[in-house]
Amino acid sequence: MTEPVARLDGVSHRYGKRLAVDDLTLAIPAGCMAGLIGPDGVGKSTVLGLLAGVRRLQTGHVETLGGDMAVKRVREAASPRIAYMPQGLGRNLYPTLTVFENLDFFARLFGQGAAERQERIRDLLTATGLDPFPDRPAGKLSGGMKQKLSLCCALIHDPDFLILDEPTTGVDPLSRQQFWDLIDTIRVRRPQMSVIVATAYMEEAERFDWLAAMDDGKVIAEGSPDEVRAKAGKDTLEEAFIALLPEEKRLGYQSVEVPPRVVTPDEVPAIEAEGLTCRFGDFTAVDHVSFRISKGEIFGFLGSNGCGKSTTMKMLTGLITPTEGWTKLFGQSLAGNELEIKQHVGYMSQSFSLYTELTVRQNLDLHAHLFFIPADEIAARIDEMLDTYDLRDVADSFPDSLPLGMRQRLQLAVAVIHRPSILILDEPTSGVDPVARDSFWRTLITLARDHGVTIFISTHFMNEAARCDRISLMHAGKVFAVGAPQELAEQRGKATLEEAFVSYLKEASGIPEEAPVATAEETAALEAATNAAPAAAARPRRFDPGRLWAYARRETMELLRDKIRLYFALLGPVLLMITFGYGISFDVENLTFAVYDQDRTPESRELMENFSASRYFSEQPEISSEGELQNRLKSGDVNIAIEIPSGFGRDVMASRQPEVAVTVDGSMPFRAETARGYVTGLAAGYASELAAQRGQAVPSVSIETRFRYNQAFKSVNAMVPSVIMLMLVLIPAIMAAIGIVREKETGSIANFYSTPISKAEFLLGKQLPYVGVALLSSVILFLLALYLFQLPLKGSFGLFAVGTFLYIISTTGFGQLVSTFTRSQVAAVVATAIISIIPAVNFSGLIIPVSSLTGAGRAFGLSFPPAWYQPISVGAFTKGLGWADLWPNVLALCGFCVLFFVVSLLLLRKQDA
């Protein structure tokens, strides 16, 4: 054998406490198709991630294409030669981008010119049969098409080492076959290319040249398929795999036997569907599906992801109302009898869907109650379930702590706790290891044969399908064959069910039975695609504006297609600016007052005229009693009550200083304080008026006040510029943070790990669109300030523009910084909001003037951009300042831009943990 394409030596990998890969040593042969097989969670993906250099090596040694993957420079040089396709249907694709746009993005990342991109994309699309759909969004492709597109994306740069992580999970058999044939064809064209594939389908492994079977982070067998089978002495790889498992795992394992069904004459079919159709908009998910299933039958439902299986099942259970057609369970239609029928149905959905916050027992208890099992029987029934489904030991554990196989048993236990006569199971065994799957099936068979339960089950596994009494084959919303598995195979003249299925699918898609999978035209295209001139620069450039632009462009397109984020980015600031502008007002006007005038003399009226004339007060009907005065204050009808005693006029004339009692509603202290100020002022005015009338000496000192910058002393003039400061930190920072964390959540961050894009290009490319959106929103805010709030711009526009631009760069940079240490979008939103709001609101002069802040608060404020930008915004709008006054602030903002970028650069990792 030639030099291996990659090797692992003593590699271990942990996720927290869990050991995923356990001291693994393995050499992967070059120039062939190598496979890693085993169920979910045995460490396959970790191994592939380490080989591709997208995961950080913890212990041991990994060598790929002859280079040590622990060294950064080696990884950088190797990355253009490796293609990595992560697990999950289209997980590295961008669902809102079209097929063409996705490919275009990858081509740009590898520095291909416009002409080269066009040509390669066209060739690859032709070769994979995706050419009719270049404009379809990736999210709307079927599973098989998504995987083909993913493959195209991986092949766009002619890799020497192709790493595929479960590329065919959830894909229909025809697409699966086409996928493998495509890989075979490519390998014929490019024999130097090595391929490694991880898969949970043992059948697929038959076509590999070499394989390694994994269990619990260890390799339990390696060699060619023949060698592995021979070693275990079994006929199929699946049996061989089970035989090779360590002793304790096989404990209690029996192969699945299906006793023949005793067919009783059919009275009423258990499940009946006629012309069932479901449309979402112009997309037909299920197209006139009909079937009859009798009592006690196990009915298998086969088809790829997205072919309409789940939708059909949801219509049977009443979750979705059919657009056309009807279903009946036991001869009764769902409508009208819903509650009664639901009592007879048990349902298990595709993903785990029980409450992880409830224990196993509490989950069972909840469902028992919701199905109205009589209270005195519940305890016994739960005990029975715990024993039957072997859950006794974990009764008080939370589902999250259980292995997948056990969780599936719990789901089944929950689904049957009310003794339903129909069970609807949507892919109950996907991802479960073969031993657990077989034990699950033994339970199903007992339910069907011994308890007469009708089972409607969907699956991807052909060996499971073969155990059903009858199966139906579904594709693109249509059922095109129904019958016993053996019959279906025989009808087609095929040895296996899988081949029969493929043959049906071909007929349904109009592909001739014996035609080569790749047509001559496609092969030629492939040849063109794979033999195109290698990318211009062999060694990746350190900083490539093209790659930066690729990210910026793609981010912009995604953002423009995401309504909720766009709403938040553009409408959010407008809404909040109006809210803050009007909502934080310290203007106290329209204070309601009423008089309890017990004097009714010209003097008392004169005093009151002072109040009525003021623009701050609005007069209410007079008060006529002490009790009324109290009541009206209580109801909030008046803010100020003025009580003038009888004899007031007389006393004033006699200079006896009569008392006037003023009661202010103190429930809002700020308003009350201001009201008192106004009242004092009015009283002083009254006093000097009186003195003047009597020719007395007027107090000789006047205190003139000059309200600088804001003569009218209106809140908006002071608040609106500060609100701009707040808006331009809160929203751009949150947007930028989400921009990166989203990729972590959806999985497309893998493209950052596996392609030649550098950290700086990635950060700047992702920042650019948000700077753009924030600039747009700052223009809107500026116009709002000018026209809605009628604020004149008194100072330098240039200063405002430059300051705002730098401020936006620094705040988006801050968001990116937060995103380097948050993992979920929720955490990113909360963390960014809290960290940015506190200094912006409390320590940047929004409410408390900066001059009143003392030591720590002042310093804290100054360590964030808002405290530096606030003087620019207020200065330019209200204070009429320019460059000469505020250049140090502009300089400080520049510093923040650089600082945040550098820190993010240091914290961002180009490998996964």
């Binding site: 029980l354 409450y355 938040f568 934080i584 007002s585 205190i703 989400i738 002069g845």
Partner: protein
């Protein structure tokens, strides 16, 4: 079993399940606990609009005994010790925001006062310091006028005034802003957390697919939604009660004038309406992150435009109508102020309870109408 007992039995089970879910979410519980204890305490005691520590400078062109007395009269805690400033530095100092007030005492000021000749003092005010400048300058004027009166006539202002003003503050004699701040904080928390909690409860079920599971059972959307509204409402009402008794009354020593029981009755009905609103917002989003983006602006609007930050009278009329006819929060603020601050009784506030009920029912029905299509599509 007939229909209604079944319906309510299912509702009860779901209600218990919701409570268990909340119990199993320690982060949310810590958030609720924090909001109703520490946050109430720290926000009400620190972020006050009470005048404090205002920076004043004096341009003393007189340099007399009187001018020095004036400078000394400007004292903490309301003002910082006044700094001296030369006339040509006034503009720069104000531009840089170093002082809120600059008092200018002209040359020969003392002589003019003693001779009863008209004299003029000038106060330059940085009117961008909105919150403090207005009330601060009134206090400053009083301090100065009093000081001059004492200097000239040997007695404060009140000895010369023709009328004696006796000012009294109803409901809060010392205008202690903690009283106001603490109660408003409790109220804002009720709004904010109820909305987040109930919305998140629905999103969580959607993200995990458990809501599908429920709908396959003999359980209807009305029970699922109502169970969430009741369970989350209950938690918040309980937290608000404890906060009112222990934090506001005992720890902060705020005397509550009105009936706490009446307040709780109103709050209970109000939380139901806000929880329904939370569910409604949640039906527009498919993930927690989207819910966050939708909810943040909604929460800020509810917080600031409902009269708890700024009186409704200070808002433009159109905005007042928009807020009052789309949300319950402004009504809740009025209700709370009437009951807790001013001691209003049931006859004074019963119509608020009807408003909460009407809004709650409307939000509930709309969410229910959106529930199926929204929940099952995403």
């Amino acid at each position: 079993m007939s229909k209604f007992p079944r319906w309510s039995a299912g509702l009860f089970q779901l209600f218990i399940k919701e409570l268990r879910s909340i119990k199993a979410d320690p982060i949310m519980l810590v958030l609720v606990l924090y909001a109703f204890t520490l946050a109430v305490y720290s926000v009400s005691t620190s972020a006050s609009t009470e005048l404090r520590n205002l920076a004043v400078a004096v341009v003393d062109e007189d340099d007399s005994q009187l001018s020095r007395r004036l400078i000394e009269a400007i004292q903490p805690p309301i003002f910082q010790q006044a700094a001296k400033l030369s006339p040509r530095d006034v503009d720069v100092a104000l531009n840089e925001g170093r002082y809120v007030f600059v008092l200018d005492i002209p040359p020969n000021f003392e002589r003019d006062v003693l001779a009863d000749r008209p004299a003029e003092l000038q106060v330059e005010i940085d009117a961008t310091a909105m919150v403090f400048a207005g009330n601060g300058v009134v206090v400053l004027q009083n301090v100065i006028a009093n000081e001059i009166s004492e200097f000239r006539y040997g007695g404060g202002l009140e000895t010369t005034a023709p009328v004696r003003l006796v000012m009294r503050n109803a409901f809060n004699p010392n205008l202690n802003s903690v009283w106001f701040g603490a109660l408003m904080q409790v109220m804002n928390n009720v709004t904010m957390l109820t909305l987040i909690l109930s919305g998140a409860a629905l999103i969580r079920e959607r993200e995990r697919g458990t809501v599908e599971h429920l709908l396959v059972m003999p359980v209807g959307a009305s029970q699922i939604v109502l169970a969430k509204i009741l369970a989350n409402g209950l938690i918040i009402v309980a937290a608000a009660t404890l906060s009112l008794v222990f934090v506001v009354q005992l720890l902060l020593g705020v005397p509550i004038q009105g009936s706490v029981a009446l307040f709780l009755l109103g709050t209970t009905i109000y939380t139901l309406s806000i929880a329904s609103m939370g569910i409604l917002v949640a039906t527009f989003s498919t993930s927690m992150a989207q819910f966050g983006l939708l909810a943040i602006p909604v929460l800020i609007v509810l917080n600031l435009l409902s009269g708890s930050a700024t009186p409704m009278e200070s808002m433009p009329v159109w905005l007042r109508y928009v807020m009052q006819s789309l949300t319950t929060t402004p009504h809740f603020v009025s209700f709370t102020q009437a009951v807790l601050f001013r001691g209003g009784g049931f006859p004074l506030v019963w119509q608020y309870l009807l408003i909460f009920l009407a809004f709650g029912a409307a939000y509930f029905l709309v969410s229910l109408a959106r529930f199926r299509s929204a929940v099952l599509r995403g």
